[in-house]
C-alpha cells in the first residue's frame, strides 16, 4: 500500500515537473526544453528507427522532431496528454519524411515497395523482434509499428497512410505472418 502511494506520488511529481517544463519551454526556456528532450528522446528515437528501418535517418528525423517540437510547443493547449500529442506530431513528421524520400520512380509508376530488408551490423544493438521488424517491407512495417507498438487503430492508420482500412488490416496480418515465419 505504502509502495503504491510512493509510486503514485512519484508519478504526480513527474507530471507536475513536466507541466512546468512545457510552460517554461513555451516561454523560450531551452533548459526546460532539454528536460523534455531527456524524457522523450529515446521513445522518439525508437519510433523513428522502427518506422524508417534506417539508423542514420532515424537520428536525423529524431532531431527534426525536437526542432519542430520547439517551434510548435506553444500550440500544445493541454487538451490531451503531452506524450500523446508528441507521438502524433512525431508520427506525422516521420510519415512526411518518408513521403519526401520516395523517389520519383515510385511516385510515377506506383511501385509499391522494396522487398524484405537485410539485417545490418547497425541493428546489433536491437532486440530480436526489432531486428525482424526492420526487415519487413515498408507498408507492412509501418502498419505493424503504428498498430502493434504505437496503439493506433486501423481507421486512423488508413487515413495516415492513405490506404483502405482493409489494406491496413491485411498489411498487419502480412507483417505478423512474416515475423512468425522469421522468428521460428
Amino acid at each position: 500500500m505504502d509502495t503504491e502511494k510512493i509510486i503514485n506520488a512519484e508519478e504526480l511529481f513527474s507530471q507536475d515537473k513536466e507541466a512546468e517544463w512545457i510552460l517554461a519551454a513555451k516561454e523560450g526556456d531551452q533548459k526546460a526544453f532539454h528536460q523534455i528532450y531527456i524524457r522523450y528522446h529515446r521513445r522518439m528515437y525508437a519510433l523513428c528507427w522502427r518506422m524508417l528501418a534506417d539508423k542514420s535517418s532515424a537520428e536525423d528525423v529524431c532531431q527534426e522532431i525536437f526542432v519542430q517540437l520547439w517551434l510548435k510547443i506553444s500550440s500544445f493547449c493541454g487538451d490531451s496528454q503531452f506524450s500523446t500529442w508528441l507521438h502524433s506530431v512525431a508520427t506525422n513528421i516521420v510519415l512526411g519524411y518518408l513521403r519526401k524520400q520516395k523517389n520519383w520512380l515510385q511516385k510515377v509508376f506506383s511501385i509499391e515497395e522494396q522487398g524484405v530488408h537485410e539485417i545490418t551490423v547497425e541493428m546489433a544493438e536491437l532486440s530480436e523482434l526489432d531486428k525482424h521488424i526492420m526487415r519487413l517491407p515498408e507498408r507492412a512495417r509501418l502498419v505493424f509499428v503504428l498498430f502493434a507498438v504505437e496503439g493506433y487503430r486501423h481507421e486512423e492508420i488508413s487515413t495516415m497512410l492513405g490506404m483502405a482500412v482493409g489494406s491496413s488490416k491485411s498489411q498487419y496480418h502480412r507483417a505478423r505472418s512474416l515475423l512468425r515465419e522469421w522468428m521460428d
Binding site: K26, F33, E59, Q63, F66, S74, R176, R180
Partner: protein, 168 residues
C-alpha cells in the same frame, strides 16, 4: 495448427515485451540545440523586419488619415455606407479561423506573448483602418491598406503554425 497458434501467442508476448525506448548511440541534443539557436536567430531577424514593416505601415496609415481629414471635411464625405470593408473583414475572419482550425487551434490564445503582441499590433492597425473607412468607405488606398494588413496577419499565423523543414 497447434504449433502455429503457439507461435502466434509467443509473438504476442514478444510484442508486449517490446521496449518503448531505444537509446541512440550518439548525442542527438547537440544537433537539436544548434538548429534551435539557428531558428532563434532567424526568428529575431524576421521579427525585427516585421516590426519595421509594421512601423512603416502605421506611419503610412497615420499620414493618409491626416491628409484625408485635412482635405475632406467630415460633412462633405458623407456617402452611402459601403459593405466592402465589412465583407473584407468577414472574409478575413473566415480565413483566419480556417488557418487556426487547420492547425488544430480554436484561437490564437495559446501563442507566446511575443506572437500575441505582434498579432495585437496588426489588429490595432486594422481597427484604425476600419475606423477611417467608416468615414470614407470608397477610398481604394484605405481598402488596399486593409487588405495588406489582413494578409500580414494571415501570413504571420501561417508562419507560426506551419514550421518549415530544415537541415540539421
Amino acid at each position: 495448427m497447434n504449433n502455429r497458434k503457439k507461435t502466434d501467442q509467443e509473438l504476442e508476448v514478444e510484442i508486449t515485451q517490446l521496449s518503448s525506448e531505444i537509446t541512440p548511440t550518439k548525442d542527438l541534443w547537440v544537433g537539436v540545440e544548434r538548429a534551435i539557436a539557428h531558428q532563434a536567430q532567424e526568428r529575431s531577424s524576421s521579427i525585427f523586419k516585421r516590426k519595421t514593416h509594421l512601423a512603416w505601415a502605421a506611419s503610412v496609415i497615420a499620414a493618409i488619415l491626416l491628409t484625408w481629414g485635412a482635405l475632406y471635411p467630415q460633412t462633405q464625405i458623407k456617402q452611402a455606407p459601403s459593405n466592402l470593408a465589412l465583407m473584407m473583414e468577414q472574409n478575413f475572419e473566415k480565413n483566419k479561423q480556417l488557418i487556426l482550425t487547420s492547425y488544430g487551434q480554436s484561437s490564437s490564445k495559446g501563442l507566446s506573448s511575443e506572437a500575441q503582441k505582434q498579432l495585437k499590433e496588426l489588429a490595432l492597425a486594422r481597427t484604425a483602418i476600419n475606423k477611417a473607412l467608416k468615414a470614407d468607405p470608397y477610398n481604394s488606398d484605405l481598402l488596399n491598406l486593409l487588405r495588406w494588413t489582413q494578409q500580414q496577419e494571415l501570413d504571420f499565423l501561417q508562419q507560426i503554425y506551419s514550421p518549415q523543414w530544415q537541415t540539421i
